[in-house]
Subunit: 255 residues, 2 copies
């Protein structure tokens, strides 16, 4: 009976303790947990600084943010953020009077815009490792990057509305075949033109290269209404589109 | 003894249940909780769409985001986000070679940049109510808006580094005295010039008005290195600064 009462007391204590913990009445001191909360707050602000271009140029994600970026990209938030970008893009597209002469244009970047390279970055620290061009080129050769689903829906809607679609990528001319193959594999088709870096474009900043290519389109008589890209260098410079749409990318930065 | 055993079993069950709940092994169905999680995810994405200018023009915050915006602004996140903007600004400022001729300029917006009107917006739904110009003007007349602490630190550092500070606000010329009084009350001083909307500027978009004023500074020989503002209309247009810094503001949008 005495043993039973002791057990009873122990269980009562355990029970109350569990309820208290579950309702956060008692906080268990844990450096790891506290630091994780701090990291989340910091990394959330860091990500905003990147997405608004306040951060400017950066080489790799802060080491304390690796877990955060992983959770962001493979969880609901990346998906949700991308979907609102597509929603905003479509909302604007609906205000454009498409003339029917084929000159109403929309530009898409490819990597982290139409396609997602998450399968690659998941194996390479989600941007916490220095960029390995050789390894990434091998991944590109596989032509198996899946579509970013929000962009796929937007792409199809814009096509239906009569926009002429240009794909403007930092990938090189020698990657034309695998890039086209990957786009088809992912479900994209009927783009007007796929523009890649020619040998004469090598060494140019992405901002300059993409601006020059946009200017060529403008000189051909295209009206560039929208431009979708995950890098500010996809969107800024000259011959800018009427409206630009910045897709999220907390993994890497391209000048 | 039987009663004691029943109690024992009950407590054992309760104990296990509590542990299970505390460790999220069992999810308690709760519409309110689920919807709150959905709202947080949506509102987080909505806020990003606003901060990146993807959303374009908007009138008031989505009604489902009122609680979210309140928690964001009065909690740690607004502070943390503002601090990283100040950090990014300072990091860039340190790369500028200040010539010592007084022509190296930095522009600050005032509302939600140097000063925070949170005491006002806390009483007006954090952006969920339509903008009430008369009520806001009454608040401005009080001249009691506190400094946004992150901007205060940046302001002082830039002054010490020798930058010439211009304050460029959408407030009107007739609010010059109360605005100066409020800035001094908040702890700012020694700005070069406070630029407000003159009667001839009324009716212009903020982007046009601010671009024209920046162009006047450029024509006076100033080199505008940095520009800090919570609205994209503070930053975009022509005669843009070398680098722009977007402070967070999920409460309102100015064209």
């Amino acid at each position: 009976m005495a043993a039973s009462q002791s057990l009873l007391s122990l269980l009562l204590l355990l029970s109350l303790l569990s309820v208290a913990i579950s309702q956060s009445l008692i906080r268990i001191p844990s450096d790891r947990k506290a630091s994780s909360v701090d990291d989340d707050l910091y990394c959330d602000s860091w990500r905003l600084s990147v997405e608004t271009n306040n951060a400017g140029s950066w080489i790799k994600i802060p080491s304390r943010c690796q877990r955060y970026v992983e959770q962001y990209t493979i969880g609901d938030r990346y998906l949700s953020d991308s979907e609102i970008v597509a929603f905003d893009s479509l909302t604007f597209a609906k205000t454009v009077k498409v003339a029917g002469d084929g000159k109403d244009a929309w530009i898409f970047d490819i990597d982290e815009t139409l396609l997602t390279n998450l399968p690659y970055y998941a194996l390479h620290g989600f941007g916490s490792e220095p960029f390995d061009e050789a390894a990434f080129d091998e991944w590109v050769e596989l032509a198996q990057a899946p579509a970013l689903s929000a962009s796929m829906n937007l792409y199809k809607e814009l096509k239906q509305m009569g926009f002429t679609i240009f794909l403007l990528t930092g990938r090189s001319e020698h990657q034309r075949n695998v890039t086209g193959k990957n786009l088809l594999f992912a479900g994209y088709n009927n783009w007007e033109r796929l523009i890649l870096r020619e040998p004469s474009d090598q060494g140019k900043s992405a901002t300059l290269y993409k601006s020059q290519k946009r200017l060529e389109l403008v000189n051909e008589g295209y009206r560039i209404h929208g431009n979708s890209g995950d890098q500010w260098s996809d969107l800024l410079g000259f011959a800018m589109s009427e409206r630009s749409f910045k897709l999220p990318n907390p993994m890497y930065y391209i000048q």
